[in-house]
Symmetry: C2
C-alpha cells in the first residue's frame, strides 16, 4: 500500500506544496516520508501480528473493571510512542505540526493493521483536539495535554440507550454543584446523572485516567430538561478526580462501567455502557459524577460537531483500510492458490496443470472491484484531509471554498467506504472460497469489523438526510455548485487525453445527479424529497468516486512520463478507474430514478401491509 | 411466515391440484397443512430457542471425536421424529409420498429456525435419495433406509484440500479390494485412500453410524489416476462397518476426522476434514477404508449431480429463510423501538414524543427491501420445487418442459437468494443500528450464517459459468426460450390488470437479457463470453425475480376477491412487487451492459498491474 499512499499524497495531491505555508515550513517531503516510514513499520510489526488475538480475546468485565488482552495494550502503547496522538499539534505543545493529509495517511497504516488501535486512538486525539479548540486554558492544560502525550485516553459520550441517532432525546442531567459551581479552576462544576451507551474505550486500565466528554442537559428552573438539541451542553468527566494543579487526587469520580457490549467485530475497542452518578463512588459524600462544562451552556452539540468532519473522514478511511487489508490478503491468496483451468475453444484440458486462480477472469473481476473500492475510498479520504489543510492554512477565499466542499463531501467520505469497502471484504472472502469462511484466514474478521462503519458516527440513513436535506441545499446550493465545477474541471482535463470517453461519462453522470437533486426538491416537501435519501447518497457517492478515480488517472499520465519504471503500477490505477466507469458508474441510474420521481413506494408502505 | 407459505403454495402454485395425480391421490390440502403445522411447531419450539447456543458452543474435537452441544442433538432428533427425512418417499418405505413443493415448504420452517438443522438434515435425505435412485437393492436396503428412518446420518464427500470447485482434480484413490472385490453383497468393494475437505456432518455421535458418499478415482493399469471428471466414481464408505445383513459388525472403518473447520457462522453443522485409509483403523489387518461402488465406474459425477438440482434449490431456500428470520426480527424491532421524529414542513418538533422507527421512510425502505428479497427468494424456491413435482408426476411433454426449465433456473435458485438474502440480513442489522451489531440480538449471527451460501454447493462464479456457459445455450437455447415464453405469458396477463406498466417493464427487461445473451456469444469465444458471467447471473436473477413477483402479484388479485379480509396481507405482496420493479429491476442495465459489450476490463487486467 505504501506506493499507493505515496502516489496519492505526492503525485496526485501535491502534499509537499504545503511546506510553502508558514505552519509547515519546517517540513519537506522527506520529513513526511519519515513519519510514514515509522507508522508503516510500527503498524506492521507491533499491531498487525496481534489483530486476530484482539478479536479472539475480546475485552472482559472482571470485578467491575474492563480487562484487555496484553497485546491490545502493547499495540496502543506502540502507537503512543510514535507521537501520533499529537501529530497535528504545535511544536510548543509537543506536536509535529503535520498537515492533516499526512497525519491521516500515516494513521491509515494502523487502521489497516488493526482497527482496534486506529479506531481507538482516533477518539483520544479527537477528544483532546476538541478541548484545544473549545476548552479553557486550564481545561486544555489539565485534560487535553495528557491525552496528546498518551498518558490519558479519551472518550466521546453521546448516545444513550433510548437516544442513538436522535441526540435531542438524551436524558443525562447536569446540575450545578453547589453555590460556587462557577468558580472552579477547571470550569463550571456540575453533577452528572445518567446512562451512556456505545461508549468506545469507556473503561480500561491502559492509562492512569480516562477523560470522558459527555453530552448532558442542564434542567431549567422547573427542574425539567429542555427539549431539543439546543438544550445540550458538553462536560468533561474524568474517571479519576483531578486537582486544580492537574494531579490525580487519588479519588474515583462517580462513573462506573455498567456493562460491555458484545460485538460482531471491532473487538479491539471495548464498547461500554457507563452509568454516571449512581452513587457507587460518592464525591464529597454524595452521588453525582463531577463534570466541568466546556464552552457555553447549550453549546454542546456545536462543540462536539466541530470535530465531526475529521472524525467522519477517519471512519471512512478506517473502512477503506479494513477493505485494503482484505484486498491484500485475497490478492496474495489468488497469486498462490491453484484451481481449475481456462476454457479454451475446445473446452478444458484436464491433462494440463491447474492454474493460479488470479488467471481466472472472474477472480480478476473480484480483485479489481476490491481495488477500485478500497483505493477509491483511500483517495477520497486523503482528498478530504487535504481540504482540511486547505481550510486551515490557505488564504481566505481558497480556505472558504475548501471548507464548503468539505462540508458537502463529509457524508460521502464517511458513508461510501463504509458500504463499498464492506463489499470489498465480502469479495475477499469469495476469492478464498471455503477457506475464506474459516477463522484460519483474516478475511472473515475484516468483514465483521467493517460492518460497524455504516452504523457508528451517524448511520447511513443519517448521512443521507444530512446530504440531501442539508448539504446540497445549503447556501442556495453553493456546495453542490462548487463540486460540480471541480468535476467539470476534471472532465475537461480528461477531454485532452485518452480518457475523453470517461470525461464525457462523468459529465453526463453529474448532469443526472444535479437534475435529480432539483427534482427531489421540486415540491419542496421534505417528506417527499427525503424518502429516497439513501439511494441519493449512494448515487452521489458513486459520482464522487468516479470523479476521484478519473482525477487520479490523469495524475498517472504525468507520473508515468516522470518515472517510466512505474508503468505497471500506474496502469493498474488506470484499469481500476476503467473498472469503476464501466462496471460501477451505471448503477447511479436506478438510484437516481427513484430520487428524481420522488418515488412513493417506501413512503406509502403501511405497517399493516408487512404481515408475513 | 405461515400465511405467506400458504399463499404461495395454494393460491399461487395451486399445490392441491397435485392430488389429482396417482402418487399424491391420498393427499389433500388438509394433509399438506398438517405437515406444515407440525414442522412449523417443532421448528419454533424445538429448534429456534437453541439457535444462538448452537452458534456460541460450536462443535469441538475431543480425543478424535466430534462433540456437539446437546441442544444440537435434541434439535436434530426432533426433526427426525417428524418423519421429514423420508417425506417424499413411498409409503412402502415408510415415507409420506409428499410432493417436493410441500416438503420444501415444510423444511423452510426449520431453515428459518436454525440453519444447523435444516442444512444438516438435507444432506442425509439427499444422500439416501441418491442411493434410492442409483444404488443396488442391497445398497438401498442397507444404507438408504436407515437414513430415511434417521437412525444413521449421511454426508457428501466431494471436495479435497486442493480440489474445491475443480472436482476433476481430486486425488482420492479407490483400489479393488482383493480378487473377489466384485462379489460383495453390498456392491463392488474397494479400498479408499485420500483426504476430503469441507465435509459437513463428517463426524458426530448423534447417530450410531454415518454413511459417507465419496467421490474417488480408480487408478488405471499403470497405477495412475485418470485425468478429468470422467474418471470419477462414487463409493459408499460407512464410518462403522456393516455386515451383509445390514447389522453393524462392531468394527470401525478406516475413516478418521483429521480436523474441524472453524467457521464464521453456520456452526450448527460441524464441518470436518476426513482422512480415508490412513491406517488408524485397519480393516482385515491393513490400511484402507472399505468402500462400495455405487453405479458404474466413471459414473460418479453423474450420480452425484443427479441430486444437485434439489440440493441447490434447498441451499437457495435456506438462504431465503435465514433472510426471513432477519426480516422478522428487524420488523419486530422497528415496530417497538422509538427514535426520532418525522420532518414536517417546519422541521422537527422536539416537544412531540418520538415515533416508532417503522414510521421513518428509510426504515420502511429497509424492511420493504428485505421483504422483496426474502419472499422473492422463497417464492422462487417453491416455484422450482413445483417444477420438480411436475417433472416427476406430470404427463410427458409437460414433465419434459418442467425438467428443462428447472435445469435453467437452478443456478438462479441457488445464487440469487444467497446474494440478496445476505443483503437482507445486512439491512436487518442496519435497522437495529448499534444493537444489531451486538450478539444480544440474532441478526448478526444470521448475517454470518448466510455468508456461506454464496460459497458452498458451487460458488457464485461456478453458478454463473453454468448459466451462461451451459444452461442458456443448451439445446439451441430451448431452456431460455421456454423461460421467455413463461415470462411473456405473465406479462400478457398483467396487461389486463393494474400492473400493465410492470408487465411492459418485465417484457423490456427480458428483451435486454435475451439480446445480451446473444451478444455475449456473438464471437463464439468462451473467454470473451464468460469473462462477465457473474454480472450476467445477477441480471438474469433480477429478471427472474421480477417475473416471479409479478406472477405472485397477479395471484393476489383473485385471492383478494375470494378473501377480502386478507386485503392488507395481499397489498403487502403487491407493494413488495412494486418495490422490486421500481428500486431493483433497473440494476440489470449496468450488469447487462458489460455482458453485451463483452467488456474486456477484467479479462485484460494483468497480474503485475495489481501492485499496491
Amino acid at each position: 500500500m505504501r506506493a499507493t499512499v505515496d502516489f496519492f499524497l505526492f503525485d496526485w495531491l501535491a502534499a509537499e506544496r504545503l511546506v510553502s505555508r508558514a505552519r509547515y515550513a519546517d517540513h519537506s517531503r522527506s520529513t513526511f516520508s519519515e513519519v510514514l516510514d515509522t507508522c508503516e513499520r510500527v503498524a506492521r510489526d507491533k499491531v498487525a501480528p496481534y489483530n486476530r488475538e484482539v478479536d479472539t480475546h475480546e475485552p472482559q468485565l472482571v470485578d467491575g473493571r474492563v480487562v484487555l488482552p496484553q497485546s491490545s495494550v502493547d499495540a496502543a502503547m506502540a502507537y503512543v510512542r510514535t507521537g501520533m496522538l499529537a501529530a497535528a499539534q504545535d511544536y510548543a505543545d509537543g506536536g509535529m505540526q503535520l498537515p492533516c493529509v499526512v497525519e491521516m495517511a500515516a494513521n491509515a497504516f494502523y487502521a489497516k493493521a488493526g482497527i482496534g488501535v486506529g479506531g481507538g486512538m482516533m477518539l483520544t486525539s479527537a477528544n483532546a483536539n476538541l478541548l484545544r479548540v473549545h476548552g479553557s486554558d486550564a481545561q486544555r492544560r489539565t485534560f487535553a495535554n495528557p491525552q496528546f502525550a498518551g498518558r490519558w485516553f479519551g472518550t466521546m459520550c453521546l448516545s444513550e440507550p433510548q437516544a442513538g441517532s436522535s441526540l435531542s432525546d438524551i436524558m443525562t442531567r447536569a446540575e450545578p454543584d453547589g453555590g460556587d459551581y462557577e468558580s472552579d479552576a477547571l470550569g463550571p462544576r456540575y453533577r452528572i446523572h445518567g446512562h451512556k451507551m456505545w461508549i468506545s474505550n469507556g473503561d480500561h486500565e491502559v492509562t492512569e485516567n480516562i477523560v470522558h466528554l459527555v453530552l448532558a442537559k442542564i434542567p431549567g428552573s422547573d427542574g425539567r430538561l429542555p427539549p431539543g438539541a439546543s438544550g445540550i451542553s458538553l462536560f468533561i468527566v474524568p474517571k479519576h478526580l483531578v486537582a486544580a494543579n492537574g494531579q490525580l487526587s487519588g479519588a474515583r469520580n462517580d462513573v462506573v462501567v455498567a456493562g460491555l457490549n458484545h460485538k460482531l467485530g471491532y473487538r479491539g475497542v471495548p464498547n461500554t455502557v457507563l452509568n454516571f452518578g449512581e452513587g457507587r463512588y460518592p464525591v464529597a459524600g454524595r452521588a453525582g459524577a463531577l463534570g466541568y462544562r466546556v464552552g457555553a451552556a447549550g453549546d454542546g452539540l456545536r462543540c462536539m460537531f466541530h470535530m465531526m468532519n475529521e472524525a467522519r473522514i477517519a471512519v471512512g478511511l478506517g473502512a477503506a483500510m479494513i477493505g485494503y487489508a482484505g484486498f491484500e490478503a485475497s490478492l496474495a491468496y489468488a497469486r498462490e492458490r491453484r484451481q481449475g483451468r481456462p476454457a479454451g475453444p475446445g473446452g478444458k484440458d484436464p491433462t494440463q496443470p491447474s492454474v493460479r486462480i488470479i488467471e481466472h477472469a472472474d477472480v480478476r473481476r473480484m480483485l479489481l472491484a476490491q481495488k477500485a473500492y478500497v483505493e477509491g475510498g483511500l483517495a477520497l479520504a486523503l482528498y478530504c484531509a487535504r481540504l482540511v489543510d486547505e481550510q486551515r492554512s490557505a488564504e481566505r477565499p481558497a480556505a472558504e471554498k475548501a471548507a464548503l466542499l468539505l462540508e458537502l463531501l463529509t457524508p460521502i467520505a464517511k458513508s461510501w467506504p463504509s458500504e463499498w469497502c464492506l463489499e470489498a471484504n465480502s469479495l475477499a472472502i469469495q476469492v478464498l472460497g471455503g477457506y475464506g469462511y474459516t477463522r484460519d484466514f483474516p478475511v472473515e474478521q475484516l468483514w465483521r469489523d467493517n460492518r460497524l462503519n455504516m452504523i457508528h458516527e451517524g448511520t447511513h440513513g443519517i448521512q443521507a438526510i444530512d446530504l440531501l436535506g442539508r448539504k446540497v441545499t445549503m447556501r442556495d446550493g453553493a456546495g453542490l455548485a462548487l463540486l460540480a465545477a471541480r468535476i467539470e474541471a476534471t472532465a475537461s482535463a480528461a477531454a485532452a487525453t485518452s480518457f475523453q470517453r470517461e470525461g464525457a461519462a462523468l459529465r453526463a453522470a453529474l448532469g443526472r445527479l444535479v437534475a435529480a437533486t432539483r427534482e427531489a426538491w421540486a415540491t419542496k416537501v421534505p417528506e417527499e424529497a427525503l424518502a429516497n435519501a439513501t439511494p441519493y447518497l449512494q448515487a452521489f457517492g458513486h459520482v464522487v468516486i468516479a470523479w476521484i478515480w478519473l482525477d487520479v488517472a490523469l495524475a498517472t499520465l504525468s507520473a508515468e512520463k516522470a518515472v517510466p519504471a512505474a508503468a505497471d503500477f500506474l496502469q493498474g490505477k488506470r484499469q481500476a478507474m476503467r473498472y469503476f466507469f464501466e462496471f460501477e458508474l451505471g448503477k447511479i441510474d436506478p438510484w437516481l430514478a427513484v430520487v428524481a420521481s420522488r418515488n412513493p413506494v417506501c413512503r406509502e408502505m403501511r405497517e399493516e401491509w408487512f404481515q408475513t
